[in-house]
Subunit: 237 residues, 2 copies
């Protein structure tokens, strides 16, 4: 028995809507708890007390995945909150790897766990100024130095020009690490899907324009959140 | 002097809207001529006589790229038509590589050139039945066997269920090669951007549903064309 993992949602198969494996057919395991409090967090229910987590063993999580999609998944994404709070994920990753299933994790890069070394796709998403959080650059250096370039990417969510300037700082500090810029979703509660869609595409185009005009941002990728374009703010899809 | 390359458009910087480097800031060089005649070709002007090409040397192409985006590009996409018709692209790739600029090429996989080995991102997009074309599987085998897995991906555009079945055949034949499914654009001429957007997102959702329900399609990625979502059928963006 390992220390159980607090789990808020297990769902899928669906597509990964963002980042380095955008479009990938994947299962999601969303863990509870975060050491950050981003102003615009789109999964605040993982840490603000509104979501209820269950303490699960790795085997129990795998049983749920198997029940949801019998022999129908080859990729599992562990998201949060910050999954790096949980040591028990080591065994989950190990058991998935043994079955030939690839794994992805996203984290802000504030807490290290050795099990990250066994994850196929690690997205480190340091939080820009609009989040209200401070970046621990030494921690981030450790992530970038320790992980393999092929398993690693940086992702910065951009809401405004100050965030964009922050993304440039990230790119200057880690020029050889793949960098993804992602449009921030300003309105994580609206149910007006048409307005949200227009808004998101406008802001995506603006972020593209900033990047295209910028002589210092060249080897970067600019992406929307596909699930938000498709399904708005609905959870668990 | 090498045999000049027939060029229809040089444009950018813009984003790559599809496939394995989706979102990447890139320059585009579009070459003329194709050995295929796909029913739904969205760049028929490269081969149907409506577009006018210029015969350019690799240096001239690089000069145009430099003029468009002085010290502002690190990635060049060579598209067509079928760029594999042109031997002179070898020198273009070589000169870009020497300057530390990454390259991408998309081709249907019907004609081989050794210069493909020096391209960073090779997308092979065999054409599904709706195109009206026949796949030369032996040729395709050669592409898959000869290129490095890390530089290579397969992309199948899907318009209907018959195309989807074809995509499954591709995946079964090359199970370890990255496979991207892409929504076909049914209407490459409309200027009604709102209707097009709704249509494309509906069809994208349908393609996602097929893939999510399919126990034989697991390690695959499903993507829209981002440039079409943003800019509809406009050319040169
Ligand atoms: S790090 Fe992520 S989960 Fe934590 S508060 Fe910020 S956005 Fe939310
Ligand atoms: S292979 Fe590509 S360029 Fe050639 S006809 Fe088909 S879609 Fe058009």
């Amino acid at each position: 028995m390992v220390k159980p993992i607090p789990v808020l949602e297990v769902f899928g198969p669906t597509i990964q809507g963002e980042g380095m494996v955008i479009g990938q057919k994947t299962m999601f395991v969303r863990t509870g708890g975060c050491d950050y409090r981003c102003s615009w967090c789109d999964s605040a229910f993982t840490w603000d007390g509104t979501g209820k987590s269950e303490a699960l063993q790795p085997e129990e999580i795998i049983n749920r995945l198997d029940a949801l999609a019998p022999s129908q998944y080859k990729h599992v994404t562990i998201s949060g909150g910050n999954p790096l709070l949980h040591q028990g994920i080591a065994q989950l990753i190990e058991q998935l790897n043994e079955r030939g299933i690839k794994t992805a994790v996203e984290t802000q890069g504030s807490l290290w766990q050795d099990w990250l070394l066994a994850v196929d796709d690690v997205t480190i998403s340091p939080k820009p100024p609009s989040s209200g959080m401070k970046t621990d650059w030494d921690k981030l250096d450790y992530f970038i130095d320790t992980l393999e370039p092929s398993q690693l990417s940086l992702k910065v969510v951009v809401f405004d020009e100050i965030d964009y300037a922050y993304a440039k700082d990230v790119h200057k500090r880690y020029p050889t690490t793949s960098l993804y810029l992602q449009v921030g979703n300003e309105d994580t509660t609206t149910g007006d899907q048409n307005r949200l869609l227009t808004q998101l595409l406008d802001r995506y185009e603006q972020l593209i324009n900033w990047t295209m005009e910028d002589t210092e941002m060249n080897y970067v990728r600019v992406l929307p959140q596909l699930h938000t374009l498709l399904w708005g703010n609905k959870r668990g899809v």
